[in-house]
Subunit: 414 residues, 2 copies
């Protein structure tokens, strides 16, 4: 075109990128659904294909990263909307056990591998931290697409993942602080940890009651779609609050959804409106994960070995740790919980990026952690699907749903 | 917090900005609804209040601009979904008359004012171009919130606004080209204009038929929410295509919606999902318009005079031009069409920004055009509401709807 408008050039390339990401994600989702594999894996693979490693049509950018973050925030908000606080409190004790054991083992293993691989103390702490946090979004999306978010094991996984994220982010804060200051104040650590835990427990306990009481007032607002709009504001507001308190934004979004879960239980419109946003934005989150993987670093076989070992250890330690945390349940349920906690996804990547940004971890460790985060996310969903398949059949829901009715639709997240 | 995470600082400030924008927009929308004024005005005023001119809590940024653009893209997509091609073609002749007369008068007036104000030839061409394009999003939102998108006058306004945008962007392309090359090739101009018109007519004519035929296939896709996902891809895809053809992205989005309008006519889920996205993203578009207005430049009374004259002329020329274009209809309908075409909104701002970016218009002209764009957008909605109020009452819809039923909800855009 001879008359391309100067100021619109950047915007057009951004919209082009979004179009490519969305189209690739949805096409791969369709392919994977037809192969009876989880759509989420297809969407991550779409990112690898269109990203810098292969086709190079789209590269990760600040803007895409932020859209991806808004996407995962809304995903966790939707998950929260499906999670009644009562249900989490019922599984609270077990979730704490699963979460804590699922943190200790991977952290220790990651730390030891890095030391053995001649990493520094700080480097080893970062690798340990990167192995800690569970990317509950992935598991939630797979379980949601199977209509199984309402099972006891799903609730334990969600509860434990929240605990994991909090513990993981406390460790990360601690490690960042050590690497920056060379030392660590026990008082500062206690303050961070205390604030994070208090915030989560407080919002979890109080939020739902306040909103259930406010529901009639919200109903009377003149603004269109009052519950949805209150939900949007609460979702972003608690995400911001979480960050300032020192936990991940997604925890705030989850808590916002949970606070609204009881007040909007039968509010189909609310669920449809929310899933419109997730359906649009979550693909950016998933594709962005895939795009972050630079296949070129794996020409160095040493990096491949490190990446594979880290992945295997990440899977085993999380599976065993969380499985053991579910001691007392039957073996299948222990397996379900163990596998459900395996995906690291974006949280592992965030940890690695912070380490790289601070200049304390090497490029090889960064690549290996990225590989681990993507690989655990790719490996887990098919196994989650297999281990949960029986529950699905027991529920009487056919394996292959083409025409969903409205109520079933609400249990689908993405 | 002692342990703020380095890499998450920027993201937290972005999410904070989004939270402030969304909360301010929705609060002001609620206030304006209670005052029986259009919510859209409240949302733009929210931008002025929280923007750099007053509180300075949020400043326009590249990211917010792009979110705003995605917002207006989805707004026009929703408007398209409500617009059956048949309906536009029925009013086609009249829409062309309204659109063309609504372009000639404002362009000539803007050009003459700028020359009289000692602007250069190129400067005057830019000011003329900035007065041309109608911001149909604003009118559509007001009419949508009144449930009047399906009236004949609304269709004429939408059709004429599409024509206006095309003509406005052709003029802009022409002016940009003159200012950059110092000259203009008639062949290049003809190519731009021809491509833009052909694209719009082709997609408008063929899109709907193709999609109505493909509907049964889309229904059979395994991916969740197939129509909505096809809609998302089509919306972004045609937005990109529009930009490459040389028209605004919003025209592509509008055409995408229109192409799907017949195939998804009774698809309530599709409409709910889409309105979830617009409900979330459109406030960023509206607040961003408000934030662009720098109140400080109006300490210079000369700029105030220029801005006021430009605004008055912009309103009168559009009202008279478009009203005359509707010659043959009754006086009230002519008035409705005239006032419906008044808002310039983002398109005028885009024109001014391009001029400033190319270094061909002065800061004073820029400020005056911004003022005109925001002022026409603020002035029009109450008058639109008044002039259309009778239609609403004739429809038997009460003035003050608190509990909307589902079908009425679909006609609400924002």
């Amino acid at each position: 075109m001879p008359f391309v408008l100067a100021a619109s050039v950047d915007h057009s390339s951004v919209i082009l990128s979004l179009f490519i990401m969305l189209a690739a994600a949805k096409i791969m989702a369709e392919v994977f659904e037809r192969l009876r594999q989880p759509a989420v894996v297809g969407e991550i693979l779409a990112g690898i294909v269109i990203g810098p490693s292969l086709l190079g049509w789209v590269a990760p950018s600040e803007l895409i990263t932020i859209l991806a973050e808004i996407g995962v925030i809304f995903l966790l908000f939707t998950v929260g909307l499906e999670t009644k606080p009562q249900a989490i409190f019922q599984v609270g004790k077990r979730a704490v056990m699963v979460g804590v054991l699922g943190v200790i083992l991977p952290f220790a293993a990651g730390y030891l591998i890095a030391i053995w691989w001649e990493g520094s103390f700080v480097e080893a702490m970062f690798i340990g931290a990167a192995l800690v946090a569970t990317s509950v979004g992935i598991t939630a999306r797979v379980l949601g697409s199977m209509g199984l978010l309402d099972t006891q094991t799903a609730r334990i996984i969600l509860g434990a993942a929240v605990i994991d994220d909090i513990l993981g982010l406390i460790i990360l804060s601690l490690v960042s602080s050590i690497s920056q200051q060379g030392t660590i104040s026990p008082a500062g650590l206690a303050k961070t940890a205390g604030a994070a835990i208090l915030f989560t427990v407080f919002v979890g306990l109080v939020g739902s009651r306040v909103l259930t009481r406010l529901a009639p007032t919200i109903q009377k607002l003149r603004v269109s779609k009052p519950f949805f709009n209150i939900g949007l504001i609460l979702c972003l507001g608690l995400s911001v609050a979480s960050i300032y308190v020192g936990v991940a934004a997604i925890i705030g979004a989850f808590l916002a959804g949970m606070a609204l879960a009881e007040a909007t239980e039968d509010n189909h419109k609310m669920h449809q409106l929310t899933s419109g946003v997730t359906e649009f934005l979550v693909p950016f989150f998933l594709v962005n994960i895939g795009m972050q993987l630079d296949l070129a670093v794996f020409r160095d076989l040493g990096v491949v070995a490190l990446a594979v070992i880290l992945t295997v250890v990440a899977v085993i330690t999380k599976f065993v740790g969380c499985g053991l945390g579910a001691w007392g349940m039957n073996r299948r349920e222990m397996g379900q919980i163990g596998i459900g906690m395996v995906p690291r996804g974006e949280v592992g990547i965030v940890v690695a990026q912070i380490g790289l940004g601070l200049g304390v971890i090497s490029g090889n460790f960064f690549a290996a952690v990225l590989f681990m985060a993507v690989a655990t996310t790719l490996i887990a969903p098919p196994f989650i699907k297999i281990l949960f398949a029986e529950d699905k059949d027991n529920d009487g829901i056919p394996d292959n749903i083409i025409e969903q009715d409205v109520s079933e639709e609400f249990t689908r997240i993405g």
